[in-house]
C-alpha cells in the first residue's frame, strides 16, 4: 500500500476533465515508448490501440519517443500504421530527430556512420569535409576503415555524437552488438567522451516536449526499459510508468526504482477513463 501511495495514480476523469497524478498536479503530456511498449515487431501489445484511442480523447499531448538508429521516421510510421495504429509524423520524436536538431543547431557536417535506411531523416545535411562524427547502429559500416576515419577526425578535435549507446539488442533469436561498443572504442582511443542524443539523456526528453510548453512535472513517460525510459525521464523531473512487457527486467526495476515507479502488466489501461 505504501508503494501505491507513493507512486503516481490518476484520478477520476468523470469529475474533472483532465488526468491528474495522485498529488493532484495536472498531466499535460504523455510520452510513450514504441517497441516493447505498444508493439513487439508487428504485433500490438495488450489492447494498446484501444488505450491510445481513449488517451487521445483526453485533453493531453501525446508524443511517441524512441531510440531508433536504423529506421527513419517514415519507416517507423509505415510499420506502426501497418499494425493498425493511427500515428502522425509530428507525434514521433526519435533519437534521429534529436541528432538532426543538434547537428543543425551547431552547424555540423558529420561523417555519418548510420544505417542507410536512417539517412532520409538527415536529408539536406551537409557532409562534405566533415567536422563531426555521428554514430548510430550501422553493422554494414562498422569496419576497420570507417572506424579509422572516424578515429582520425575525433583525434583532430571533431566531436563524437552517439545516437545512443546501447550495448546490444535482441534480434529474433540472438543478441547482436549495438552502437555502444563502437562508440566506447572511439572514446577510449581518443580520450574523449561522446555526446549522446537519445534516451536516457535528459536533453532528449526535454527536447521531445519543447513544443508543448509544459514543465517536466506535468509529463509522464511510459516505457519498458527501466534505465533508458523510466530512469532517464525521472531524472528530468518527469513521472515514469514501467510496463511489464518488452525489455522489462522487473527485479531490476523494483530494486532501482521502487519508490517512484509504477509497474503494470501491459500498456496501462487502468488510469484511463472508463
Amino acid at each position: 500500500m505504501l508503494l501505491l501511495k507513493r507512486c503516481i495514480k490518476f484520478g477520476s476523469l468523470k469529475t474533472n476533465k483532465c488526468i491528474r497524478t495522485m498529488s493532484g498536479s495536472k498531466i499535460k503530456t504523455v510520452l510513450i515508448d514504441l517497441s516493447g511498449t505498444i508493439h513487439i515487431d508487428d504485433q500490438e501489445i495488450h489492447n494498446s490501440k484501444d488505450s491510445l484511442k481513449r488517451l487521445r480523447s483526453q485533453n493531453v499531448n501525446v508524443k511517441y519517443v524512441t531510440n531508433t538508429t536504423k529506421e527513419s521516421k517514415k519507416c517507423l510510421l509505415n510499420k506502426l500504421n501497418g499494425i493498425g495504429f493511427d500515428i502522425k509524423p509530428s507525434e514521433i520524436f526519435t533519437s534521429l530527430t534529436a541528432a538532426r536538431e543538434l547537428i543543425e543547431k551547431i552547424g555540423l557536417r558529420p561523417l555519418m556512420i548510420v544505417d542507410d535506411r536512417a539517412l532520409e531523416d538527415f536529408e539536406g545535411i551537409q557532409t562534405d569535409n566533415p567536422n563531426a562524427v555521428l554514430i548510430g547502429l550501422a553493422p554494414d559500416k562498422f569496419n576497420y576503415k570507417t572506424m579509422n576515419t572516424a578515429f582520425r577526425l575525433i583525434q583532430d578535435g571533431c566531436p563524437l555524437i552517439a545516437i545512443h549507446k546501447a550495448r546490444y539488442y535482441k534480434k529474433t533469436d540472438e543478441l547482436a552488438l549495438g552502437p555502444g561498443p563502437f562508440v566506447t572504442a572511439l572514446e577510449y582511443a581518443t580520450d574523449t567522451t561522446s555526446h549522446i542524443v537519445g534516451k536516457p539523456e535528459a536533453s532528449f526528453f526535454l527536447s521531445s516536449v519543447e513544443e508543448f510548453n509544459c514543465q517536466p512535472e506535468e509529463c509522464v513517460m511510459i516505457g519498458d526499459d527501466v534505465r533508458d525510459d523510466i530512469g532517464g525521464a525521472q531524472k528530468t523531473g518527469m513521472l515514469g510508468i514501467l510496463v511489464r512487457t518488452g525489455n522489462t527486467d522487473v527485479i531490476q526495476a523494483w530494486d532501482a526504482y521502487l519508490p517512484t515507479v509504477t509497474i503494470c502488466r501491459g500498456f496501462p489501461p487502468w488510469w484511463l477513463p472508463n
Binding site: 553493422p139 554494414d140 562498422f142 569496419n143 576497420y144 576503415k145 572506424m147 579509422n148 578515429f151 582520425r152 583525434q155 550495448r167 546490444y168 540472438e174 543478441l175 547482436a176 552488438l177 549495438g178 555502444g180 561498443p181 563502437f182 566506447t184 572504442a185 572511439l186 577510449y188 582511443a189
Partner: protein, 261 residues
C-alpha cells in the same frame, strides 16, 4: 639526466623505435645504436605488441633491414598467450590478423571457451566482433584476452587504431574485463625481466607509447623513456597520467646517453 645512469639492462619496443610501421628501412641510427649497446655488454631484449605477423616474419623483417637479434631476444604477446591458454585449458576463438594465425597452430581451437583479440586490422569487422560477443555472452565465465593494450599506432603517415579500443568495445558490450597479454601487463614485463636477469630498478624501457611502454615499465619499477619517433605526439609530453623519466629524439640518442653515463 638521471634516467641514463647505472643502466644494467635495456628493453626496447620494436615498431616506431627500430622502424616506422609500414616502412622498409630502419629509423636512422638505430641499427648502429643496437650494435653499440651489444658491444657494451649491456643485455637487451625486445618487447613488442606486434601481432599483425608471426614472430618468424617479424624477425625476417628486422634482419632484412639490418638488425641481428635472435628469436630468443624478441618477446611478442602471442607465444606468451599460447602458454597461458595451454596452462588454463582454454580453447580460443581468435579475432586476429590472418598473418598471425600460424603462431596459434598448436593451440586447440575446437568448441571455443574464450576469445583472443589481436591487432586484427581489416578483420575488425562487425561480423567478427559480433561473433566474439555472442560467444562471450554464451559462456558462464566469459574470458577475453587482448594482445596488448595499445590505443593506436602510426602506419605510414596516419595514426591507426590498435587492439585496445576493440577490446574496450567487447568489455563494454559483455561487461567483462579483458586480460591483457603484452604491454603494459606486469606479468608480461615480468617474464622479460626474468629473462634479462636484471632487477627492474636498473633497467630502462624505451618506446614510443607513453602509456603502454613508458607507463607500463614505470609501474613495474623500471625507468621509462619515450622516443620522439613512431606514434609520438608532442602532447604526450604533457600526458595527464604518465610522465616519462626522459624524452629523446630517437633510439640512437637514448643509447648514446646510456653509454656516455
Amino acid at each position: 639526466m638521471s634516467w641514463c645512469k647505472n643502466v644494467k639492462g635495456v628493453l626496447l619496443d620494436i615498431t616506431g623505435v627500430l622502424f616506422e610501421s609500414g616502412a622498409s628501412e630502419p629509423i636512422k641510427g638505430s641499427v648502429e645504436a643496437i650494435k653499440r649497446l651489444k658491444d657494451s655488454k649491456i643485455p637487451v631484449r625486445f618487447c613488442t605488441n606486434e601481432t599483425t605477423k608471426t614472430r618468424q616474419k617479424l624477425l625476417q623483417k628486422l634482419h632484412s633491414i639490418g638488425f641481428s637479434m635472435t628469436e630468443g631476444d624478441v618477446f611478442p604477446p602471442i607465444p606468451a598467450c599460447c602458454q597461458i591458454l595451454k596452462s588454463r585449458g582454454l580453447r580460443p576463438h581468435l579475432v586476429v590478423n590472418p598473418d598471425a594465425l600460424s603462431d596459434f597452430i598448436e593451440v586447440n581451437q575446437e568448441n571455443p571457451n574464450c576469445v583472443v583479440l589481436g591487432d586484427a586490422t581489416d578483420n575488425f569487422s562487425y561480423q567478427n566482433l559480433n561473433k566474439a560477443f555472442q560467444l562471450l555472452m554464451s559462456l558462464e565465465t566469459p574470458v577475453l584476452f587482448a594482445l596488448g593494450g595499445g590505443k593506436y599506432y602510426k602506419e605510414g603517415s596516419d595514426l591507426t587504431l590498435d587492439v585496445g579500443p576493440f577490446a574496450k568495445a567487447l568489455e563494454y558490450a559483455c561487461d567483462v574485463e579483458a586480460e591483457i597479454v603484452g604491454k603494459p601487463s606486469k606479468s608480461f614485463f615480468g617474464a622479460v625481466l626474468l629473462d634479462l636477469g636484471q632487477p627492474p630498478d636498473s633497467v630502462v624501457m624505451i618506446g614510443d607509447d607513453i602509456v603502454n611502454d613508458v607507463g607500463g615499465a614505470q609501474s613495474c619499477g623500471m625507468r621509462g623513456v619515450q622516443v620522439r619517433t613512431g606514434k609520438y605526439r608532442p602532447s604526450d609530453e604533457n600526458h595527464p597520467t604518465v610522465k616519462a623519466d626522459g624524452y629523446v629524439d630517437n633510439l640512437a640518442q637514448a643509447i648514446d646517453l646510456i653509454l656516455q653515463s
